[in-house]
């Protein structure tokens, strides 16, 4: 029996200036299903959904709701048609409470706030959302903020919920709650469009998958025919071959590049952040630090790169004490750093790619001559970098803020690999990136290892650590819980260690 779709997009195209964001995209959404929209970053998934939600205007094609042509010009129109979208970056007023955010634009005149609070709290409880609605958004955890965003939609009684990369910001537990909500929500006859680039999530929750690449729909699969390998190939357009780790332990005989000797750090309230951290990294060694975010990894990076001075302990880099060296001295001595928050610590979004390449080298004289920038050399270098790391950009004069996250990360990677002639520090380098970019970063790490560089990889992803590292240690509440050769640990043991529990026999 042919079901009638609740929403149908027909031959939608969208252009930004000259760039094609969506070309001839057609898809249907049926009541009671979870439609996963799968694709790499920049594949046009968010764009097509923003068109449906009235944020963008399409240049071609038509939208049908309940088989009738609909003219959606604004999110308000979309909501009237029963469509709401939770965007990747929440649109919440952080200084207001959940209730205030939810009723914004939906009330008139005097606001009886306590009546609204209890009404919306009841709604939250109905869906099993454990979130206080009368607390300011800025006081809530990200997972709770997302629940407020979803409540905004539920409050309007919509029946199609679009979720844009909803798990990117969630902890594994929060993701589970979200998945449970989605399942119960569609059981009531509602529909969910789930935008993601994570195959695991698709496998778990989707009733149907539409795969997009470069702005077009490249395939569609029903629940029964889902197969991870097939989806990955569709999504990326080519087979992904993971880099092979050289497990010969050649690095053991090579000299120590970084020696961290008993460092400790306190914050301004005298709470210990790092306690007696010691480890060594040899040339050609990838040393992994596993751990749940916020256990002192970021501060450890700050200390290693000279942003913070440890209270106690010493750091030796190529047998030289660099504990008290300035950041500039760190950079010039051959230490490269790919930080967690690239937009805050690594690039200036409003400047061009070449200017960002120059950023950490401005003192070295590499790109300047008597104070003048060697524009041509710098641009050539940047162009080479774009080609080498397959950065999606039109040229060195592009603004780095206009690139996707993965491409920004590859830009940072390219710069830091050149600066870090002996040591590279990576803090969660693949977080939130799509498979193509992750693959590129892993390959570069392996290549640099082969070249004899010491590499520190801080990660929360267990698979990544097992795939890349020679030695894995676990950080928990500012302490190193143990140091193991790759192979000595299995996934369960590492998971337990990350939770602060030392498994028996280790």
């Amino acid at each position: 029996m042919e079901r009638t779709p609740i929403v149908e997009l027909r031959h939608i195209s969208k252009y930004f200036a000259k760039v094609v964001a969506n070309k001839d995209v057609s898809l249907k959404v049926f009541p009671g299903e979870v439609l996963a929209l799968l694709g790499e970053n920049g594949a046009g998934k968010s764009t097509i959904m923003k068109i449906l939600y009235g944020l963008y205007k399409h240049d071609d094609g038509e939208i049908l709701i309940h088989s009738k042509k609909a003219d959606i010009r604004s999110p308000m129109d979309a909501k009237k048609s029963g469509i709401a979208m939770v965007q990747q970056h929440f649109s919440l007023v952080s200084t207001h409470t959940g209730t205030e955010n939810i009723i914004l634009g939906n009330t008139k005149g005097y606001i009886p706030i306590s009546a609204y609070n209890s009404k919306i709290q009841k709604l939250a409880n109905e869906y099993g959302f454990d979130v206080p609605v009368d607390v300011k958004i800025e006081k809530l955890a990200v997972g709770q903020q997302q629940k407020i965003e979803i409540l905004k939609a539920l409050y309007l009684n919509v029946n199609i919920l679009i979720l844009d990369e909803p798990t990117a910001v969630l902890t594994p537990q929060e993701s589970e709650t979200l998945m449970a909500f989605i399942k119960s929500y569609v059981k009531k006859g509602n529909s969910v469009i789930f935008i993601t680039h994570k195959l695991k999530e698709v496998m778990e929750v989707a009733s149907r998958v539409v795969v997009m690449r470069n702005g077009i729909v490249v395939g569609e699969r029903q629940r029964e025919e889902l197969e991870e390998h097939d989806l990955a190939k569709l999504m990326i357009g080519e087979e992904i071959v993971a880099p092979v780790r050289d497990s010969s332990n050649r690095w053991e005989k090579l000299p120590t590049i970084l020696e961290v000797d008993n460092i400790s750090l306190h914050d301004s309230k005298n709470t210990p952040i790092l306690t007696d951290i010691s480890f060594n990294i040899h040339a050609s060694e990838i040393y992994g630090i596993a751990g749940v975010s916020g256990n002192g990894q970021d501060e450890l990076c700050d200390v290693l790169c000279g942003l913070k001075k440890p209270d106690r302990g010493k750091i030796y880099f190529k047998d030289k004490d660099i504990t008290d060296s300035s950041i500039l001295e760190h950079n010039l001595s051959g230490l490269g750093y790919v930080p967690l928050d690239r937009l805050r610590d690594a690039i200036i979004p409003g400047m061009t790619l070449s200017e960002n390449m120059l950023l950490k080298n401005s003192f070295s004289g590499k790109w300047s001559n008597k104070g003048f920038i060697k524009k041509i050399e710098l641009n050539n270098y940047t162009s080479d970098m774009i080609e080498k790391h397959r950065i999606k950009a039109t040229g060195p004069a592009d603004l780095s803020g206009g690139l996707s996250g993965g491409n920004q990360q590859k830009l940072v990677l390219g710069r830091e690999v050149d600066i870090g002639t002996s040591l590279l520090i990576f803090n969660q380098p693949t977080r939130g990136l799509d498979m193509g970019a992750v693959d590129r970063i892993h390959h570069v790490m392996m290549e640099e290892k082969e070249r004899g560089k010491a590499i520190l990889l801080i990660s929360t992803e267990i698979t990544e650590l097992f795939e890349m590292c020679d030695v894995i240690s676990v950080m928990y509440r500012g302490k190193i819980l143990g140091e193991y050769r790759n192979g000595e640990l299995n996934t369960d043991n590492l998971g337990l260690l990350m939770a602060g529990i030392r498994p028996e026999g280790l």
Binding site: Y56, S91, V93, T95, E100, N101, I103, L104, G105, I111
Partner: protein
């Protein structure tokens, strides 16, 4: 002492109106940097209207109209066109100064004796004005001061208890959220700036109609900027700016009082005149943990 406090309330009135105007507009994300010019054009409009018609009410209306008109121009450039607010404000302040000086000359020529108008009559509130001390200070003022009294609880109510207030505050924190809630941010901001302009025009008229009875091009003398600063000091709340304006009103009254009574020449007059301005700097520097609206001064541009 009674006189000093009476004058404090008197001098606070326009600052209060002006800073409440700023509270509204800044809460929705727009700094009205043209506030000095709006004060001035309000003062001028109030003077012209009253002088020509001998009717203070028409003067006040003209003042409000002038203030609204200038703020409409400001809103068009900064909100509709999304241009830089500080630069636009500065330009309009200069424009207002030139405009007033020019048309003052066009309308009145160069009079041999200063042109004067009657200042607003003192309205004694029955019963309340008979209370000793307080009655004289609070309840023997003119109509604009009473309006300013009412404005504080009213604006608090609007900002924090109504849907409109929620929209305005949200627009200054996260306009994207307001937009996706189906509210036209540009329209909301434009109208808020207009309301701020009308309050600013009224505030300006107080100097000519309510107090001096004359118009000079330097009559405002930076008090628009003081209202601007008080909005910051008052942490963008109506009751916060009330305290701020009283402090400045006191400084203003004190400086006028000292100028009047001190006949000796060894206490420099200039220092006394500078008192309210010095206070602006001192209080602004001292005030910490301000809750600045997140997108204050940033135009909202919708991408399509």
């Amino acid at each position: 002492m009674t006189n000093l406090l009476y004058r404090t309330i008197l001098m606070s009135t326009p600052l209060l109106l002006g800073s409440v105007a700023e509270v509204f507009s800044e809460r929705c994300g727009v700094m009205v940097c043209a506030i000095e010019g709006i004060f001035l054009i309000g003062a001028w409009g109030g003077f012209v209207g009253t002088y020509l018609t001998h009717n203070a009410f028409i003067g006040i209306m003209l003042a409000i109209l002038c203030g609204t008109a200038l703020s409409a121009l400001y809103a068009f450039v900064t909100v509709t066109l999304g241009q830089q607010q500080v630069v636009t404000g500065t330009a309009l302040n200069i424009l207002a100064a030139g405009f007033c000086a020019f048309f003052q000359r066009v309308i009145f020529g160069v009079p041999t004796s200063p042109l004067v108008i009657d200042t607003l009559p003192i309205l004694r509130i029955p019963i309340l004005s008979n209370i000793p001390f307080i009655g004289t200070i609070l309840f023997s003022q003119n109509i604009i001061t009473y309006l300013a009294y009412l404005l504080i609880p009213l604006s608090y109510y609007v900002l924090f208890k109504t849907s409109l207030g929620l929209k305005i505050r949200s627009a200054g924190e996260n306009p994207v959220a307001v937009d996706t809630a189906g509210i036209n941010v540009t329209k909301l901001r434009f109208l808020t700036v207009l309301v701020a302009g009308s309050l600013g025009g009224l505030a300006g008229s107080f100097y000519t109609i309510g107090y001096v009875g004359m118009f000079t091009t330097n009559i405002i003398g930076g008090r628009g900027w003081i209202a601007f600063a008080i909005c910051f000091l008052g942490n963008w709340t109506p009751y916060g700016v009330l305290f701020g304006t009283l402090a400045f009103g006191l400084a203003d009254a004190l400086s006028i009082y000292i100028q009047a009574v001190s006949t000796s020449s060894y206490f420099p007059r200039e220092i006394v005149i500078a008192l309210p301005y010095a206070l602006t700097i001192i209080l602004t520097v001292m005030r910490s943990n301000l809750r600045v609206p997140a997108v204050l001064g940033i135009p909202y541009k919708k991408d399509n």
